[in-house]
């Protein structure tokens, strides 16, 4: 049993043991000049529901309507349903199919039901259209059974749509779709606009409804996709850009767009704030459609459309194979004399993400940072940057990797004023002329919410407050627009309010530019708010690593648990309880 995106015929033939119900090949839909779907290939097998997710306007609903032959654009390609091409069927054949073999549950928007007809009659009509031979009495019984099965209160049966709540309307719409017990059910945003409790009951009902059938769930609600589907396809500007098992895809998205979608979706378990996707859909013709918004695009992305590929269980359309691992440490060991400071430390930090390195002082976390920066020599192991082993730290390396320390003065020469200090990395890299460099300095200072007037440029960081000096240090580190920033306890010397500003600034940069952060801290509460992944280090070894949300909710190592308990005891809520 396998449902998958089909772009390679041979590959599919090997793995499909169950006959697919629906095969979509090269589906394109245009509305006049605008193309909504730009070549969709999908396959669907029974009992393995497929979720189609993406932002509004990505073409999700058009895809659903096309399968019913209801899309009003110019459609090309092939939609084979039980070996009949829907796009080639004459209208009367299509009408026989609609509602009987393929049914759609519409979103319960205003007027999804006819406002002047009784709910019961609208459900009955769906049956009558196809079962006119049934005697009246049996028909009434039939409709009643369906209304009972969707748990619509009996006193609502003869009501008009405007008398029903959103949830009840949704039930009626489900009844309309279910009344003919179709083979394929298409759910279009089945829970949008509902309150959480209603959503929960509707989802339960839908789960029951799609059992034993083929189903496509169109939604922008990732939790609906997670609860109802086996497979998920991510649609972006009318193309499938990622496809895989729902569980895996939603937990470990690989395409930058999917990651952005998931990051901007509020999840109970996640501590990190919502982060969006920069820019908006532009519908460019050449290259990767996500390129204008992608923080890791390279030159080929502009020129060539990536094709959807990968192993059969996870397909992705990206020239770089999805979000790239920016920094990879493999089995790093370091020692000072005979003391082993780091033993076999491995970790991965992806582009645009934060890896929090948590440990108490002396655990080796700063040493790891210094090893990466080349300030401490490693005894064994390997460090990779964008997939390439790092040897000598040269200009090119510092162009991409920068570090800030707990004490800003460590990185700033006391004899330099702000202009010189922030411009120093640019000068070292010999970037631009002096005037350009000054412009860049002003720009980064502005971005760090620091003044960039003459007086400030000529003042000395050593005379500033801690927060201000740290921001100058950050501005300095970011002047080169590095891909990776190693932040070693960057805010531990600062007031919470200043800390908040700096953290927010870094996360904004991450969202807009894809900055990867290696965030070194002993403060697990803070790390939880900034990181996607976490690595807990103790005595030079990494004892636990994984998604931050998982580690916080289900810590496995006793040391992690102890850290969490201490952090929880420090929580203000529990303090109040004790006193």
């Amino acid at each position: 049993m396998n449902a998958k995106v089909n772009f390679n015929q041979n590959m599919v033939a090997e793995h499909v043991t169950d006959q697919p119900v629906l095969q979509i090949r090269g589906l394109k839909v245009n509305y006049g000049e605008k193309s909504i779907l730009q070549g969709i290939d999908l396959e669907l097998t029974p009992d393995q529901p497929l979720a189609v997710i993406g932002e509004s306007g990505a073409g999700k609903t058009t895809l659903g309507l096309s399968i019913l032959g209801l899309s009003r654009g110019q459609v090309s390609g092939e939609i084979a349903f039980k070996n009949r091409d829907i796009l080639a069927l004459p209208l009367n054949e299509l009408q026989k199919l609609r509602g009987r073999e393929i049914a759609m549950v519409f979103q319960s928007m205003a007027n999804a039901l006819n406002p002047v007809l009784k709910v019961k009659d609208q459900v009955a009509e769906a049956a009558q259209v196809h079962k006119s031979f049934l005697p009246k009495k049996n028909m009434a019984q039939w409709v009643e059974d369906v209304l009972v099965s969707v748990e619509l209160d009996r006193d609502k049966w003869s009501a008009f749509p405007h008398q029903l709540s959103g949830g009840a309307k949704q039930r009626a719409l489900i009844a309309i779709a279910m009344v003919n017990s179709p083979d394929l059910l298409i759910l279009d945003e089945p829970t949008a606009l509902q309150d959480p409790l209603t959503t929960a009951t509707i989802i339960r009902l839908l789960k029951k409804s799609i059992q034993g059938r083929s189903a496509i769930i169109i939604t922008h609600d990732l939790s609906v996709a997670a609860q109802l589907s086996h497979w998920t396809a991510v649609l972006y500007e009318g193309r499938v850009i990622e496809y895989g098992r729902s569980r895996e895809l939603l937990q470990k998205p690989r395409h930058p767009y999917t990651r952005g979608l998931i990051r901007s979706f509020p999840d109970m378990m996640r501590g990190k704030d919502l982060q969006g996707i920069p820019g908006r859909s532009e519908w460019l013709q050449d290259g990767c459609s996500f390129q204008p918004r992608c923080t890791q695009s390279i030159s080929i992305c502009k020129d060539r459309q990536p094709i959807l590929q990968g192993d059969k269980r996870h397909l992705i359309a990206c020239h770089r194979g999805g979000v790239i691992p920016l920094l990879e440490c493999r089995n790093i060991s370091t020692s000072f004399g005979s003391t082993k400071v780091l033993q076999d430390v491995s970790c991965i930090l992806a582009e645009g993400e934060t890896l929090a390195l948590i440990g108490e002082s002396g655990s080796g976390k700063t040493t790891l940072a210094r090893t990466i920066m080349g300030l401490v020599h490693e005894d064994g192991g390997e460090i990779l940057l964008e997939g390439k082993t790092v040897g000598k730290r040269d200009k090119n390396f510092y162009n991409r990797v920068q570090m800030i320390c707990q004490n800003p003065m460590e990185s700033i020469n006391p004899g330099m004023n702000v202009l010189q200090a922030v411009g120093e990395p640019l000068a070292i890299q010999k970037i631009g002329r002096s005037a350009d460099r000054d412009d860049q300095v002003r720009k980064v200072l502005n971005a760090a919410e620091l003044p960039n007037n003459k007086i400030f440029l000529q003042s000395y960081p050593h005379h500033m407050s801690g927060g201000e000096a740290q921001r100058v240090a950050i501005a300095r580190a970011l002047a080169l627009e590095p891909r990776l920033l190693i932040a070693d306890e960057p805010t531990s010397a600062l007031d919470p309010s200043v800390q908040e500003k700096i953290i927010r600034y870094l996360l904004n940069l991450q969202e807009k530019k894809g900055l990867a952060l290696l965030f070194i801290s002993h403060d697990i509460a803070l790390a939880r708010k900034v990181s996607d992944r976490m690595a807990v280090i103790r005595n030079g070894r990494i004892v636990e690593t994984g998604q931050t949300s998982k580690i916080i909710t289900h810590p496995r190592h006793p040391y992690t648990r102890a850290l969490l308990e201490i952090a929880a005891a420090g929580s203000m809520c529990s303090m109040r309880l004790k006193s």
Binding site: L68, R100, F106, M109, A110, N111, N114, P115, L117, I176
Partner: protein, 322 residues
């Protein structure tokens, strides 16, 4: 609940209008008889007739007794006496009424039927060939005043082509009966009726079409199509049922203008209905007659509007349950 409210509203309106009919002449300066019958009437009025009138309207009694007498007369269908026709007003009106009802009624039904049908077919094929040609034709017709259309038809079919009679409702003194009488009536009806239909259809058509175009975009249309409904069912059972709501209101309000339109059209074709009668009464300054006809017409407009309102609650559950 809603229906009773509507009925009560109309009853109140009806009573108010009748009361106004009583009060207005009373508020005019001068001799009440003169107000009721016009100054020319006084010239032909015999002392005997005058006494009779004073008696009937209880003019020598208190205002309250006059009011009671007024209602009493109305209840008996007594609308007064037309001295021009030398007959009771009610009698004259009853003779003219069927012709107006025939003309206005059939014009009303036919124009509504065709306007709606064309609107539905045109609106659901928005931008298609049929839609575009219908739209152009009917836009051209739209806004023609009744009497201009009447005169045009009269000149073209009555005078130039001479296929239809120029005036009247039946051929006078032909003594036709049965089937040939019906044909004769229809023959006479054709031009005035045609005028009405041509003038009324565009408004109904345009509104229906517009409304259909909007309703066809509504999401319940997609729901219906996804059920597997045929296009015909989608159009008539789903879209049209919603599109007709504003049309119904329009038809109701048009009723008043149809009836006033009848005044002109009947005049153009010398059709012996209320309109023609009103025209002649105006020339004769036959005040009781005028009053009676206006009362009759008000009543007709009220009744039609009442029917429309009642129908509306049947068609739109949102109003019925509001």
């Amino acid at each position: 609940m809603g229906k009773i409210k509507i009925l009560l509203t109309y009853l109140t309106a009806f009573l108010l209008i009748l009361t106004l009919c009583f009060i207005l002449p009373k508020m005019m300066a001068g001799d009440p008889l003169m107000a009721l019958y016009g100054d020319e009437a006084l010239v032909v009025m015999t002392p005997q007739l005058q006494a009779e009138l004073i008696e009937r309207f209880a003019l020598n009694k208190t205002l309250f007794e006059q009011f009671v007498a007024f209602w009493g007369a109305l209840a008996h269908g007594d609308l007064g006496e037309s001295y021009a026709y030398n007959a009771p007003v009610a009698e004259v009106i009853v003779k003219a009424l069927p012709w107006t009802l025939l003309l206005v009624g059939s014009a009303f039904i036919i124009s509504a039927l065709f306007g709606i049908l064309l609107g539905i077919e045109s609106g659901s094929r928005r931008g298609g060939r049929l839609d575009r040609s219908l739209l152009t034709c009917l836009m051209l017709l739209n806004g023609f005043p009744d009497f201009v259309m009447g005169i045009l038809l009269l000149l073209l079919f009555g005078v130039l082509l001479a296929i239809f009679p120029l005036a009247g409702a039946v051929t006078p003194y032909s003594g036709e009966t049965g089937f040939s009488l019906v044909i004769d009536i229809l023959h006479h009806l054709a031009l005035p009726l045609g005028t009405f239909i041509l003038v009324r259809i565009p408004g109904i058509y345009l509104l229906t079409r517009n409304s259909m175009v909007m309703q066809m975009e509504e999401s319940y249309i997609m729901t219906a199509r996804a059920k597997g409904c045929s296009e015909c069912k989608v159009r008539y059972h789903h879209s049209a049922r919603n599109s007709l709501l504003p049309v119904l209101t329009l038809i109701g309000t048009q009723m008043a203008s149809i009836i006033t339109g009848a005044l002109f059209v009947e005049r153009v074709f010398s059709y012996p209905g209320l309109g023609n009668l009103l025209y002649e009464s105006l020339l004769n300054r036959d005040y009781p007659m005028i009053q009676g006809i206006l009362l009759m017409m008000t009543l007709m407009v009220l009744v039609i509007n009442l029917l429309v309102d009642l129908l509306y609650t049947r068609f739109d559950p949102r109003v019925a349950h509001a």
